[in-house]
Amino acid sequence: MSQSNRINGGLIDRSQTWDFTFNGKKMQGHPGDTLASALIANGQKLVGRSFKYHRPRGIFTAGSEEPNALVQLRAGAHQEPNTRATVAELFDGLTATSQNHRGPLEYDFMAVTDFLSPFLSAGFYYKTFMWPKAFWEKIYEPIIRSSAGLGSLSMKEDPDSYDKGFLHCDLLVIGAGPSGLSAALTAARSGARVILADEDFRPGGRLNSETLEVDGMSGSDWAAHTVAELSAMDNVRLMTRTTVYGAYDHGTYGALEKCTDHLASSGGKPRQILWRIYSKRAVLAAGATERPIAFGNNDRPGVMMASAVRTYVNRFGATPGQQVAVFTNNDDGWRTAKDLADKGVEVNAVIDTRNQPPVIEIPGARYHRDAKVRDTIGRKGIKAITLADDQVIPVDCLAVSGGWNPNVHLTCHQRGRPEWRDDINAFVPGGVLPVGMTVAGAANGQLSLASALQEGHDQAAAQLKDIGIKVAKAKLPQAEDEARESVAFWHVKESDKRAWVDLQNDVTVKDVKLANHEGFRSVELLKRYTTMGMATDQGKTSNISGLAILAEEAGKTIPEVGTTIFRPPYTPVPMGALGGRARGKDFRPYRLTPSHKWAEANGGSFVTVGNWMRAEWYTRGNEKGWRDSVDREVQMTRNSVGICDVTTLGKIDVQGKDAAAFLNKVYANGFAKLDVGKVRYGIMLREDGICYDDGTTARMSENHYVMTTTTANAVLVFRRMEFARQCLWPNMDVHLISTTDGWAQFAVAGPNARNLLRKVVDDEHDMSNEAFPFMACGEVTICGGMPARLFRISFSGELAYEIAVPARYGNSMMSVLNEAGAEFDACPYGTEALGVMRIEKGHAAGNELNGQTTAHNLGMGRMVSQKKECIGNVLSQRPELVRDDAIKLMGFKPVNPETKLIAGSHFINKGAEANMDNDQGWMTSVAYSPILGHSIGLGFIKSGDTRKGEIVRAVSPLHGTEMEVEICSAHFIDPEGERLRA
């Protein structure tokens, strides 16, 4: 019985038939179908289970407001939970399964909750599950969790790719229904840059669902003609399958374009694109959403929105039932009855809450005026309805119309607060709308076709005028004004059965009443207590009814109760799309050092340091673990010479007549009197007196300095120096430019460093200790004329240089240095050996300069000049920061040399209990010193400078360890600095 409910007409392509499956059942549909329309055509009524009571549910709407028909689409890693069947386009081979049930959909074991519903009223869980105490997490909560939720993730990596993009326009038109098309047409013909976005795959909005005419054509034909005209224009970007999901500041909108969701496979292209649209002006033409009426058992499969029934019949050629009744409080509902009857579907009753003559004569239908549906019958699909006067009418579909709610969502994303309009019994956009946005058509409460077309034009014209674009004269599309009278009618009071307000989250009229009774009287409290409007449909079909019932219950008017506001996104947006390309290895860019290739070819193992990849060590033939390599690199360097790529250190060119004075302000120590050809170590404070970076600055010429920063802080230092230059001392002639990437810089360290460099540096440069002593710098040439910079600085504590060449020569330079060093048994060393050597030397690095420590703590308190204006020196002198018993950076060695120290251990005095009150400080960095043959550490400890030789305990309860350590000087090797001056 394939497509038993397929009827004539509709905007589907019957020349092709596609196969798909629902819960494994084979079905057919056509291009132009949604999954929902195809399910309806195939007579599938039951499509899912509700959230709390696991009630059987069917398709309720025909759009993105769908609360019931959520399915898992596709399979395997492509499995996509909670997809609304009403917006999922059919494709050949589609597979869908229902969700939120245990056992088959028809016999959900969890439906037992429905029978327990008297005990599961709103907020019941706040009142129980508290005894015995341990049961909440062990028993109750796991049960709640597994029965809650809806669909499942595959737990596999999303196999699709996503992209992002940026668009700019004069006018963004949101929604391609009648008012949107009219607005776009006006703007496009006037030459404005227009973006027209619509969530549907077929532009036209309700025009595709109705039998109304525009300019003498069917509405859908007019839409197609208009779209064709717009598509042909260069200044128009027509974006179908594109939902504008959020209105952000200053005319920025977020939009999601679904590119391949309607295809069986994405074919390697991005599945979706997340657009950021920068608009000068916007017209919101998002239409309106029909709302239900609450009555007993109004959630049964087959109870549908009247407009949705019309959509399925008119647009998709599929009827939701063979025997349909219409329940309405307004004129519009009658059109459903008429369209059904016109298509030959039996309409056996029209029930209008109003006491008035029929709006339209419906052949074959009995008219019940001033009547209400009290209850429905049929657990897995409606079989009959019971009216308030107890008449029972057999139906297999009930079309319900409770009036229309303008889609004001995007108007609320900033400061807009909807306003109530009594004449249409609905909220319309109100308050302060997002900058540059106006609203047209049904979204603005203009619910008739003619007025929507007119307002689309008018709003677009007004917006263009506002940005100085002349509006071209053109004939307006013409249509009749259809009947739209309605009354406010929210729920059938005669119903003694549960009447649903929020279908997905199972919130009933009784729950709303209970919340009000218990004191949850603000709309926001109601929402939070009952969870009304918090389901995946964000309450598109429930919120207004809910608050109308709350108002009734509290004896207030709807405007007095107010409304909850809508927040982005308008419809849910996949995380994959929001993440775009930035995932996996593409999460952040990689920065490679100039010698990266050489390192790859020479046993380099890499580590991420910020965005940089640095060689952490270079493995040689027989080395089994990293320690072998690192110990060797340290020993070879200290014994002869080692080479390390230190390009990642930030480099800033500082130039200008006031450069010296400027540096004197940004460094805490003196920089006013640094000679040309000299380098100085400097520490930088934040304004709060904390030491945040250190480095060296070399004076290359009278007005030219080259500064280095730590790798981690390069960007921050530059930013703060620009701040000082532009905002604090704006009249200094000083200029900054980053050259971090421009120079490949290598440390050459060890007793043979000079000997090695002599082979590379051109002969005319005197490398002797006298001519080029410790802390000298200069421009040199190497390898026969190549410009380079040479600095005699040392992080390792050895005789050492750093030599810089233009970055493109860096890889070659690493090779040359190693070749030149071969005769000295030179070795390349990585960040680990660098770290070991700096700990041996007692130099502070990131673990010590962690943004919490002062120069006083670091043992450099005297470097902070109080005799000049510089950043941070004043506040560095606050009493708590200069206490004598402050923590001080010290060295630590294990009493038992076999013990391995642990960074992050805390120091506790011998005999004291290990607790916070007795905390003396912590170990910041540790290393195994191959030179000393035991583990060493740096750390901060209270009054450390006066406690040398004392034994304390380094405790790490995290590891369950405790060891005795001796406080010592942080300079484990060459404390007098003889090596580096050699």
Binding site: Y126, W131, Q852, M923
Partner: protein, 432 residues
């Protein structure tokens, strides 16, 4: 704290009902018709011993502990909107005590212990769920810092557990171990950390305070202070003046605005933190996962939504909404660390206004105006502090001396230099 069991008498006269499974059963049989209002809606009296400004989590818990632990009853909590409408109603519900510094960690551990007994204490199920919280480690330096922190946690009586990548892979196989830009090297767990149902925390405290006679007055905005000769004697409100012996500000997110009414400038800026929830999903994540390097943290609510967030937007604002760059930044972090969430959809986003303090640490202190007290500066860590903040603030208000666990949370610490800067970012609020 055992006194509570029998205290169900409403000072307004009616008898409060005690919640239990049996009560639910009986109510269910009789159509849920005789549940009592959870709180009264009293009119303000002309004078109170203590006025608490702000019926958010901290204000309500302060009132609750004042009444319950310090025997004070003549208290009003004034709220400009509906109770719980501040940041207690818009956060990511995480509870943890995994701080580093001595000025913080004992306080948060105190809070954790109060959380652990909250439901029994308030007779309200706030769904405290100790599902664990994990901070991922990506570099050696980060591990060193986390070891220091984990040990600080132990030293203050909390729990912590260091795991390596292999252990993590066994426990959370869906994390991106094989293709990560920043490889996962391990993590620091606090197994006692987790989540709680944020709104229910406010409701539980409100119900508990109300039943002990505290007047919770909604829709009552404070418009000024009655300060005479350096002494605060009450407040002006949208419902008229109310006198009080002590006035306690507790309006994190609006601290700047309210303090300005008393002529105070604060070491606080207001910033927006966005938070997000996905559509409901069957159980996906066991606990709270924090990917600090990627500005992303996430947990799953009992209802099934993935609740997640990241950094603050970074600009001063009082608007409860943010902008796209941060939305995308957060999602990027999520996709980078757990690419299996790609097909989950973000359902709703919102923004909460944060009191960002100058060192990232809050204040519970007297002000320079006698009789006026201040509680604020919670940055985006206020939710987990709710019980201890209320308890310590109540202690300060009742005894006029700080609770030992909050003794360093002083307003004058920037003058003395006793900074409590967990992140080491200095006096720039948007970096904390």
């Amino acid at each position: 704290m055992a006194r509570d069991a029998t205290e169900t008498r409403d000072f307004g006269g009616s008898v409060k009902m005690r919640y239990s499974a049996f009560k639910i059963f009986m109510q269910g049989l009789t159509g849920n018709k005789s549940w009592k209002p959870v709180w009264r809606e009293p009119d303000p009296k002309p004078e109170y011993d203590i006025i608490i400004i702000g019926a958010g989590g901290h204000g309500l818990s302060t009132a609750y502990y004042l009444a319950k632990e310090f025997g004070m009853r003549n208290i009003a909590v004034l709220e400009k909107g509906w109770l719980g409408s501040g940041n207690i109603g818009r956060n990511t519900t995480i509870i943890r005590s995994n701080y580093l510094l001595p000025g913080n960690q004992p306080f948060y551990e105190m809070s954790m212990k109060l959380w652990e007994n909250l439901e029994q204490d308030t007779n309200y199920n706030s769904m405290v769920s100790q599902r664990s919280i994990l901070n991922l480690i990506h570099t050696d330096g980060q591990r060193d810092a986390f070891v220091r922190r984990g040990n600080a946690m132990f030293l203050s009586g909390a729990d912590a557990e260091l795991v390596d990548a292999k252990q993590l892979r066994d426990e959370l196989p869906f994390l991106n171990f094989d293709d990560a830009r920043f490889p996962i090297k391990g993590g620091l767990f606090q197994r006692r950390g987790g989540t709680a149902r944020h709104d229910a925390v406010a409701w539980g405290y409100a119900r508990g305070a109300d039943s002990r006679g505290v007047d919770i007055i909604q829709n009552c905005e404070v418009t000024g202070f009655d300060i005479q000769g350096g002494v605060c004697r009450g407040v002006e409100t949208s419902r008229g003046p109310i006198r009080a012996r002590k006035v306690a500000m507790c309006v994190a997110g609006s601290s700047g605005r309210v303090a300005a009414l008393a002529g105070m400038r604060l070491p606080i800026e207001s910033h927006v933190l966005q938070a997000f929830v996905s559509e409901g999903l069957k159980p996906t994540l066991p606990g709270v996962i924090t990917f600090g390097a990627g500005h992303f943290y996430v947990s799953q609510s009992d209802k099934g939504g993935l609740v997640f967030g990241g950094d603050i937007d970074g600009y001063n604002t009082y608007a409860q909404r943010g902008n796209l760059p941060v939305v995308e930044d957060v999602a990027e972090g999520g996709m980078a660390i757990m690419p299996m969430i790609g097909r989950a959809r973000l359902l709703r986003s919102w923004g909460g206004v944060m009191d960002m303090s100058m060192d990232g640490t809050p204040f519970i202190d007297k002000t320079h105006i006698e009789g006026l007290y201040f509680n604020g500066g919670w940055c985006y860590g206020g939710f987990k502090a709710t019980p201890a903040s209320g308890y310590c603030y109540a202690h300060l208000l009742a005894k006029d001396e700080p609770h030992p666990n909050a003794a360093q949370m002083r307003l004058d610490r920037f003058m003395t230099g006793n900074l409590i800067d967990e992140k080491g970012q200095g006096n720039q609020p948007n970096l904390h």
